[in-house]
Symmetry: C2
Subunit: 452 residues, 2 copies
């Protein structure tokens, strides 16, 4: 088997398209993985994209559609007939359909709903009601449900009959007549049991499940912990209403990591890729934080203003302000970012605060002493600013690093404790706090040692 | 079904242990999910942990063991007999065994190897040879392989016979006599086909696979794209040597996000949780970057030193240095962090450089104008520093934001293009660059407008 890169494959497909060899193109695309076919379609000009999409086999078309980006999905919707649209909607898993509805303009949503069957329409409407970022918002309705008194053979027959439309068949759910969740049984359990075994006997009654109202991040982390393929979602009466599959959990974990990174960099998180957000949108996500931070940075300015007369006598002190501020900022964000990520991975709890403070104190002392020693040598022998100024700068440096690492360790943990998002408390805020405090220390020490 | 929190469950188990009701404790633990049982064991004091571990059912014990942290795994190993150890090793999937070998001290590794069967020993030794961070290093050997001329019924029989020990049975691999990978067939495909269907007829020959030498991050991203449960890994001769399962891919994606976050905050990444790293280790991961950044911040100091005489005439200018530097740093890291994350998610390529520059230019202009306008009003009516100084500060602010966002957008992309890790180029480096450039602009504009 020859290994070809995706580029080569795409070029070949392109050639088929240009030579109008549509039959061969269709065969090749239908054989392709849906994610790759979607990628190929998205490289085509608008007109060709819709045309090529319409030659795909009916079922494959819906799968490819589900892998496309929202803009391209809209283009496709606008260029297919009502009948083709109805087919796509019926083939989509309800979680993908709901995602689509949430992002499309109202008139397109109306057209889709008009073409869906009443059952699909009801299901989509029901799922649209779950709050954003809840387990309900990422679950899907296409699961296999079994009954306790079925045999493995019965179960396989049911899967054979209905499995084609299920998002996963590997974990099946055993429910009572009133849809209460009684147990789970995997296809693995069934394959490893005799065909005559009763589902009720081989099912696992210790079901780990989520509530529709649980946070989607909590649910995604359960996949990380338990290595599940799917997780059942129940309502308040323990009735099974849907499942979350591992691929959606992966997406949530990736999105949550991106959100944390954005918040740490003082950006309002967005769920759209960089190149898909408009200039105004990006501006709106960034400028409020820049404004807040700019205004809080003026406190630092006030402190400098307050010591203006001292500074004018020792202007050389000004030259070290950037180094002190930068080191404080960097030292603080090293700590805060580590702490925030550890909390978000579940490695750190508020009860570990004392451990964190004790560890950061020792690390800060080591870091501060290293930096001060190097800096002292530089000040004495390179900058030749004299022992007194060198002492002022180096003592301040040590104090700044200590302060920065303590503030960086404590602030995110406190923020989480009182219900704020710790990621928002990251580097920029801590930088501002540490800047102000370290400048005060600087000038205090300077006035004491230099007697100004 | 009553919903109990994990805390309540743990308390009940603890009570059973204290009352020496070992039989009931065993039943409860054997019924529990292995990840939860491992969590419970890890809350116990050393002596109890080993004792409780040894009452677990043989097979469950190995699963629980695989979920424990390395320190606790070592404790267990040191307190079980050679025979129990041999049992654990044989039950472990080879990827978990390899992870363990890589972290345990040499004498413990020796004891394990002495107790493993020759086959297991060879397999572990072979897998230990794959380079760190390669697909080979995260794959496992326990997959189901089928032959082309088997029927679905034959395949199910083979799964029934050997499936107990396989990490996943849901994706099966069809290989030739010389172990070349011919196709994949899922249990879903088989369940949806008649029992007499030939595997060769229903298998998918368009296999998406990875090479043992591929980067593990690339492999993990394929899971994100294709939503696979497992991915086959082949050697250079296209012989199937192992599979990577989705749960390992999730771990890799989480670890890679953590690494990126750490690098962006100027920390040498570590693969251990925060509370498990020692003070010296943390110091070593942090201090080199602080030193480099401290030394590069002295360039900023040199610039201030160079303009010392100008500054001493207009000491008021000093008060705005922190605000300008902070805003430049924040604006730059907003952009760099977004760009780095987008590149790492595959949303952005080097070929998008022009788009990025054009977008950042417009966003920066909007942000810069907003900030300058607010700041101008503040300087004129609150600080009352006069129109000339206000103009100097606001023009510099606009220039700083423009510069910061351009540097923040271009530097990570260039870094990646020339083969550096873009995450390392994030905030701190960009801050230093932007600091120096914006101070030069500040003093240039100041000397021109204020005629000093």
């Amino acid at each position: 088997m020859e290994i070809r890169t995706m580029e080569t494959v795409f070029e070949e497909l392109m050639e088929l398209l240009q030579n109008k060899q549509m039959k061969e193109l269709k065969t090749r695309l239908d054989d392709m993985n849906e994610a790759d076919a979607a990628l190929f379609l998205q490289t085509l000009p608008e007109k060709d994209m819709a045309m090529v999409f319409r030659i795909l086999a009916k079922e494959h078309a819906a799968e490819v559609f589900a892998c496309m980006e929202i803009d391209e999905q809209q283009l496709i919707i606008n260029s297919v007939t009502d009948r083709e649209l109805a087919n796509i909607i019926e083939e989509l898993y309800v979680d993908d359909a709901v995602d689509l509805m949430e992002e499309l303009p109202a008139n397109v949503v109306k057209r889709i709903m008009r073409n869906a069957t009443p059952e699909t329409r009801d299901l989509i409407n029901q799922f649209l009601k779950y709050p954003e970022n809840s387990a309900g918002s990422i679950m899907t309705a296409e699961f296999v449900d079994l009954e306790k008194d079925m045999t493995v053979k019965d179960a396989f027959d049911r899967i054979r009959k209905t499995g084609e439309d299920k998002e996963t068949i590997y974990t099946c759910y055993v429910t009572s007549k009133d849809r209460k969740l009684l147990g789970v049984v995997t296809v693995r359990d069934m394959l490893l049991s005799p065909y005559e075994a009763l589902i009720g006997d081989i099912m696992d009654e210790n079901v780990i499940s989520a509530r529709t109202t649980d946070d989607r991040e909590t649910v995604a982390k359960m996949f990380n912990k338990y290595d599940f393929i799917a997780l059942p979602v129940v309502d308040l009466e323990n009735r099974l209403v849907g499942i979350v599959t591992f691929d959606d959990a992966i997406d949530v974990l990736e999105e949550e990591a991106t959100e944390d990174i954005e918040k740490m960099a003082a950006i309002t998180p967005s769920d759209k890729p960089y190149l898909k957000t408009g200039v105004l949108e990006t501006w709106r996500a960034r400028v409020p934080w820049l404004l807040i931070l700019m205004i809080s940075a003026t406190f630092t300015g006030l402190i400098i203003g307050f010591y203006e007369s001292a500074l004018s006598k020792f202007v050389v002190l000004t030259a070290f302000i950037p180094m002190l501020m930068d080191t404080g900022g960097n030292g603080g964000s090293q700590t805060s970012v580590t702490i925030i990520r550890s909390m978000s991975l579940g490695d750190l709890e508020f009860s570990d605060l004392v451990k964190v403070v004790w560890k950061e104190l020792r690390v800060a002392l080591l870091c501060g002493l290293t930096l001060s020693a190097v800096n002292f040598l530089k000040l004495m022998y390179l900058d030749k600013v004299g022992i007194l100024v060198s002492a002022v700068v180096c003592i301040t440096l040590l104090a700044t690093v200590l302060l920065a690492k303590l503030v960086g360790g404590i602030m995110p943990m406190l923020a989480k404790k009182i219900g704020f998002d710790p990621a928002v408390m990251a580097s920029p805020f801590i930088t501002t706090t540490v800047d102000a405090l370290s400048l005060i220390i600087y000038f205090r020490i300077a006035t004491a040692i230099l007697k100004i």
